[in-house]
Subunit: 319 residues, 2 copies
DNA sequence: CCGTGAGAGCAAATCGTTTTGCGCCGCCGA
DNA sequence: TCGGCGGCGCAAAACGATTTGCTCTCACGG
């Protein structure tokens, strides 16, 4: 009775219909645990991110989920809060629970150990916006699929935009440098300066957290230096919003006295006053790309060498 | 070997240590699927919400998860997009996957069927901000635990605030009335008007979606009526922000020409210009409360009649 | 010397499926 | 009449743990 009807063996249409009727009549629903146990597929994916409360990630999560749930998968969401220990623990738990795949925005790009055990457990892994600095790029081949946005070009465009506006002294408030995106965004910023023949000045480049607080703390150290900048590029929108707070608080006009550009184009960016010029980082699209790569693996549609997809960024000029 | 050590039988400390060493040496990790199968516990909870992209919900999710993951649970997040069919399908899937509990913000308060099957499957259920209008309140006893914020008092406070400011003609842009919160928020709005002896005017009360678009569509119909209001209470902050867009677009000064208050106090509320006066709806706290109720059930700490917890709201005056 | 009980080890049942092997029935062509 | 085969049903193995019952040994006290 356990359903030869489910495709494995030849069955007459008549019997098939009878079984289906019985299933409907009894309200029978197969126990997914038992099924998973037998088939070695749980139809489950873990999404490991720093913090769902960071407005960039719900969009990513949504993009991931749109595709996954259409394919019958459920999604575990894990917040690491930037703790490597938490990340490791979630990944270990993902293995224990036999998830079919993991999408992870790794805290520390070098923690290959956890990723390694996932691979060893034959779990599909997609890394999100991990470390791909040009410097280290050629030395090691990627071991998993990757999705990242073109951060470097993003900040390069943003910086060029400010240069075009006539600014010559442009600061940079970055996120934590041990994360992949921060490094790339910094590189783009430097690219643009160098291209115009401007020597970067470490006095107006700071690192903090990828949060509003990061901007709140970061901007004052720039402004209180010997030669304060007339414009600031921020590692993301939250930092930019924090910087905006500081500017308002100090009575600086934006953008007349101080120009600020952000990164990500979260919804809040269009709401602040003045509306933030920012680099759009299409979060949902990134999520879709992750899900796509993952599904290709779990479905067996793609088995070859790791792939990378780069989601392009673009400047949205506002004020 | 399968570990009498795990507490069931008396074991000498020496053996216990030996087993633990062996476990560590071999890197043995129990398969959670098999364990769940046997113990009938999956250490998994489903969170069913309209849309994680709505900035209110990541906070809730975070609040839920903080408690749950500290207790070893993982969280499935399901976006229904306001579709009853999707909700039903997610709940059915939750049963199939034998989750230990479900936290659900029900689309339609009357869809007892799905909730019923969850209860029948002995799954702990917490409903989030569901229908508890005073009118229907006494007739039916709740069948599950509930968490809701004091919506009614929230809008009442907000409306009174506007009345205190001298406004006498106050509009209301609501969310979909078939959701619990919308009904209660409307009730609070009416409460305040009636208390001051003002007759509500249906011409300046509209319903739309709980989104920015809701405000974008809603405000014009109020303003283009015969007697436009001088102030508007909005069903949530997204609606208020949409309304703000319209006001700006029409060249109305806020709050001089048109006062607007929101609901939820999402982060964006403090970012818009002018900063939005709003009612704080402590999302994370709500999430905590849900998790607390759920854990009390799954742990067996509480088995009696359904409980309700009411999270209180408060006005944050800004501009 | 024998009964007792603590601790250890072995084996089996169970959870609910999927998958596979095997046997039975009836129909068809040779 | 016999061989073969499509369709069907029954039974058993497997997935990997927990849980329980039973046996066995050893040491101790009566």
């Amino acid at each position: 009775m356990s359903h030869a009807l489910s495709g494995r063996r030849p069955v007459s249409p008549e019997t098939q219909r009878k079984v289906q009727d019985a299933v409907a009549a009894l309200g029978y629903r197969p126990n997914q645990l038992a099924r998973s146990m037998r088939t070695q597929k749980t139809m489950t994916v873990a999404l490991v991110i720093p913090d769902i409360t960071n407005p960039f990630y719900p969009e990513v999560a949504r993009g991931v989920q749109d595709l996954l749930s259409a394919n019958g998968y459920q999604l575990f969401i894990c917040n690491t809060d930037g703790s490597v220990a938490a990340e490791r623990s979630y990944l270990a738990d993902a293995i224990d629970r036999r998830v079919d795949g993991v999408i992870v925005a790794p805290i520390s790009p070098s923690d290959g150990g956890s990723i390694g055990s996932l691979l060893a457990a034959e779990i599909a892994v997609v890394q999100l916006t991990a470390d791909l600095n040009a410097g280290t790029r050629s030395t090691k081949e990627p071991t998993t699929d990757y999705v990242h946005s073109d951060d470097r070009r993003g900040t390069a465009i943003a910086t060029s935009y400010l240069l075009d506006k006539g600014h010559t002294r442009i600061g940079f408030i970055n996120g934590p440098l041990d994360t992949g995106p921060a490094g790339r965004r910094r590189a783009g910023y430097l690219d643009a300066l160098v291209e115009r023949g401007i020597k970067p000045d470490n006095a107006i480049i700071v690192s903090g957290a990828f949060t509003r607080l990061g901007g709140l703390n970061g901007l004052p150290t720039l402004l209180d230096g010997k030669k304060p900048p007339t414009a600031v590029v921020c590692g993301n929108d939250l930092i930019a919003i924090g910087a905006l707070d500081v500017a308002h608080h100090r009575g600086l006009r934006v953008p007349e006295d101080l120009a600020i550009v952000g990164f990500d184009d979260i919804e809040a960016a269009s709401l602040v006053s003045p509306a933030l010029t920012t680099v759009v980082n299409p979060a949902r699209e990134i999520g879709h790309a992750c899900a796509r790569l993952l599904l290709d693996r779990t479905s067996g549609a793609y088995k070859s060498a790791p792939r990378e997809v780069m989601i392009s960024t673009a400047l949205i000029p506002r004020a």
